[in-house]
Symmetry: C2
Subunit: 381 residues, 2 copies
């Protein structure tokens, strides 16, 4: 291994790379025009089989290797899609990535991924890297919440790099977006609780703000500064309460950090109220795991004492005892659809921005029951 | 949005990129030497504050923008680490990625990730993209099983790109590797079963081969063509059986595809044997979920009827009823350590290849019990 680490490794590598023959040199060697050589080496457009064979032979003889800049100069196509996700360790984004990779497999594109940990500074740097690496399009789940946080995205747009938003719309950006029907999905889940007779329905996770929103108006104002998808789920929750004539109770919406540990305490408080929560909608996997721990810590069991429905299905949810009723996000479809939008823009589609909302799938299992079961169980204690 | 999609978008973008001024032009404008301009623009080495200010002013005036090739020509550093993982949707790799990203956060590096779906063809293409994009180092969980499948890795090595293997060693490649202590971890888990009195201990997942290995020698021969990490876990299992004087029974090692659905059937067969498995070690999350479904389908419960221990802890495992005893892989540490090895090689470390084995953590919960409980429960039926 020392051979690949000797002192002059870098310079030797770089100068070899730089001294790669140009497309013009390959064309001259092959006795064809430069455009023909570029089409052959870039693998696009029509080239006669004979000319193609001569170009490839010349390229091999001269040790031509297309690097990304050389390729982009000759063909305008570097054939990479940059993907910027909030958290690569979240199974949701892992699934989305899988969908994007699947779509790339059917083309000559390769997806390269950068994770930002929901931090705007890292997102800016990621976009900078993707501009430098000359990707052909960018798919991004942006952490930007407000129009004044989008300068880096506008910068990429100004360089005419097609951008597709995924999972979240961003206020102030008129871009293609592929999202789920967040509001309808939350509305539907809460309506199911209502139809079984629940009136004390909780929403986990609400705002991360420490101070509790005193009323519905304040809560919706807070939501204006959230990620779009989170705010939409809250709106769906409120829609269902309105529909059922159930007054909004701020004590049934968590105001806590988005982590499992803190959630255990926050949900524990809801379960200890004089008029406790009897049904809980969770918006993320960690919110569900924290909720289940809180239910257990309170000596309760689902669904007898508390019904639960969660966003983001997982194979684990099906082996919980009893199995969990979940809202499955179409992760693969989201990724595939975003990639298709990116391919269309790369190919020159200059139509208006399209927002595609892909519906979730409700997976009924056994974590939802009527609240009467809980009351009778409590009576029996 | 039409502005970023008009017909001549690509050419305009590319030609602007190509016509960016050179470092020499910026140096001339600033009235400094080319080396000083390169150091300032590349943000490395010592430059006087005054010279730096003049270079930056000149760069701004000339609309200089370092692209990856320009930057690598001037500084030799593109400041990106390429990461090639087998499956980005596997929480294990997601955690590893998080560790790599954490390490990059403390430096000026950015990690870009490509997923190969354990397919060698996609891995080859991923390495090609990373060479083209001129990453400074590559961290890879390779799908290569045999020395004759490593040409693409040798190609990157010949270009003096430092490469660090993660999760798996690859036969025939003498490279830095960061792995877990697979063999010892499996040995330890099986020894715990043995100490509780188990003799019928199963291993899920064994070979994907359809034909069952008739004996231990054949099984180990099969393992020679597996991923290194899987083979090591099997060896640890056999070590523990040997230690306890328990004969190897091929019926207690799955011979099935690596997916949850097929695992349900394979484990179901083990539980239906005249002398059934009373303890099961699983090597992956999907193997555990499939095993739990098989246990439930057989009308059994853990740990009363069957004890289980699995590789890859998850927050779900702690809320299973009863909670699962797991072997937690140090995913973040693996990622961080691999990144540190990559940084060291980039900085010029030319020492011998280092294999770093990071120990797992055994997380005792409530899915392991003595087999006597099962026998007495069965007697009581």
């Amino acid at each position: 291994m020392p051979a690949r680490h000797d002192g002059d490794a870098k310079p030797a590598h770089r100068s070899r790379s730089v001294s790669s023959p140009t497309v013009a040199e390959v064309a001259a060697e092959a006795g064809v025009g430069k455009a023909t050589a570029a089409r052959t080496l870039g693998n696009y457009g029509a080239v006669s089989p004979e000319a193609r064979a001569r170009v490839l032979a010349a390229a091999e003889k001269l040790h031509y290797r297309p690097n990304s800049l050389a390729r982009s100069m000759t063909t305008g196509i570097t054939q990479t899609i940059g993907v910027v996700v909030a958290d690569i360790s979240n199974p949701f984004f892992a699934g989305v990535m899988r969908g994007i990779a699947d779509a790339c497999d059917t083309t000559d594109y390769t997806a390269i991924v950068l994770s930002t940990d929901e931090k705007l500074a890292k997102e800016r740097s990621a976009i900078g890297v993707l501009i430098d690496k000359q990707v052909d399009a960018i798919i991004i789940a942006s952490a930007a919440l407000q129009p004044n946080e989008t300068a880096h995205i506008l910068e990429a747009m100004s360089r005419r790099i097609p951008i597709v938003l995924i999972d979240r719309k961003v206020r102030g950006l008129d871009l293609d977006a592929v999202v789920i029907n967040n509001r309808e999905s939350a509305h539907d889940a809460v309506r199911r609780f209502v139809e079984l007779g629940h009136r004390r329905i909780a929403f986990v996770w609400g705002p991360t703000a420490r101070e509790r929103a005193a009323d519905r108006r304040r809560l919706l104002a807070l939501a204006e500064s959230w990620l779009w998808s989170d705010a939409e789920r809250l709106r769906g929750y409120l829609d269902a309460l309105d529909e059922a004539g159930i007054p909004f109770d701020p004590e049934l919406v968590t105001h806590c950090e988005y982590n499992e540990e803190v959630t255990v305490g926050a949900v524990g408080e809801m379960l200890a109220l004089p008029d406790p929560a009897t049904a809980i909608l969770t918006t993320e996997t960690d919110a569900m795991v924290g909720t289940l721990r809180a239910i257990r810590a309170a000596g309760l069991v689902h669904p007898r004492d508390v019904s639960v429905i969660g966003f983001d299905d997982s194979s684990w949810a099906s082996v919980m005892e009893p199995p969990l009723t979940m809202i499955a996000q179409p992760m693969l479809e989201l990724g595939r659809a975003a990639a298709q939008h990116a391919f269309a823009r790369i190919a020159g589609d200059d139509g208006d921005a399209v927002v595609e909302a892909i519906p979730t799938t409700f997976i009924p299992r056994e974590s939802v029951a009527s609240p009467r079961t809980r009351i009778s169980a409590a009576d029996g204690r």
